[in-house]
């Protein structure tokens, strides 16, 4: 369908008084809607047109991306960063980052019982540094810090069970 034909169609719809017209061809579909509540004012009767290309036979009505809505105002919260803790501990340890367990298992602070812990309170960590092991079904997962900072607190005892997303360490990023 040519652009001029679409324009004519829109005019036709807006004059006709119908609120919605849908035309479908082999690889093309157009829906024209006019807002019935605003029909009385001539100028307001601007129908909106949606053009929906037919993507596949199996999915005939893939909608075009909607025009972006007016962007919501940015949250007014005072300077939140991606690093801000999101857990419940956030309130009392607002400046600390919580490192959480990525899985259910058993938490180990060292690679074997006679070895020193990977990290202790006061140690600096950075992304890539192994900080603990979570063993799940005898698969020993080395867990790395994903942030930089200083370990403030170890929240779980060695060899204790941990749940998914359970806080393991508090890190001071400053």
């Amino acid at each position: 369908m040519k652009l001029t034909e679409i324009q004519d169609l829109i005019k036709f719809v807006s004059r006709s008084g119908v609120t919605e017209v849908e035309i479908e061809q082999s690889n093309f579909k157009i829906t024209i809607k006019s807002d019935p509540t605003k029909k009385k004012g001539k100028a307001a009767a601007q129908p909106e047109a949606y053009i929906q290309p037919q993507m596949q036979m199996a999915m005939p009505q893939m909608a075009m991306p909607q025009p972006a809505p007016v962007p919501a105002p940015a949250p007014a919260a005072p300077a939140p960063t991606a690093e801000a803790p999101k857990s419940n501990e956030a309130d009392k340890n607002a400046n600390y980052i919580t490192i959480k367990s990525p899985m259910i298992g058993t938490f180990y602070r060292s690679s074997s019982p006679e070895k020193d812990p990977f990290v202790s309170v006061g140690d600096e960590v950075k992304p890539g540094k192994v900080i603990c092991i979570v063993e799940a079904m005898k698969l020993f997962n080395e867990i790395e810090a994903e942030v930089s900072g200083k370990i403030v607190k170890v929240l779980v005892d060695d060899a204790s069970p941990v749940e998914y997303d359970q806080p393991l360490f508090l890190v001071d990023p400053s």
């Binding site: 019982p113 890539g128 192994v130 079904m137 005898k138 698969l139 020993f140 867990i143």
Partner: protein, 244 residues
Amino acid sequence: MIGNIIRRFDSLDSTSNYVATELMSGNYSEGDVILAHFQTAGRGQRESVWQSEPGSNLMMSFAIDITFLENSEQFLLSESISLGIKAYLNAEKLSGVWIKWPNDILVSDRKIGGMLIEIKRSNGKKWAVVGIGLNINQLEFSPELSATSLALEIGQKVMTMRVTKTVIEEINVWMDQLKAKNFNPIRTAYHDALYGYRSWIEFRDGDRRFTGKISHVDDDGHLWVRSKQGAINQYQPKQVEIIY
């Protein structure tokens, strides 16, 4: 594919440590197998030390990229390796080969091998360092270990290198399934191979000893046991002991 290259050492502290070090320093190609005749610091799972006579047994490690596995799918790796080792032992015409949950290998109610799997995340990738211990030519074990070896089972000594290559072939069969994400055949075969899945066995849960059957192992690897009295319980590895 594992085992295109096999690197053999007379003595290493631990084949898995060697693989991990090589992996982190970038000197490792996926699937290279590291073999040692003797490990000075051979490890079982954490506290348990793998007891091995020098030169008698197979100790090998390799690393594979398992970035394609979700955390919740990692137990399938353990299942696949166990199935490979079991397939090898079956190919040696051994009977009574079972997988003792989660990943020990039994022959005629004695332990013949096991594995240690460590998962390392690095640069957006997830690597599994797999260490396998298999008793090959050791003829004596202290009785409390309830262990056996290939030589004891088939009645003659065998060439460790030949065993290594065949074990690798069998593991590759299951690793192909894993990489193709054919998870159901792996899970089905693992269940069929489980000690105590079809027959009544003894369990120890703390101080309580009871007879039960494995109901199933869920996708996370937890063991579900149905006692003879009909109670169903879910366990993690340290919460229950399978008596064999």
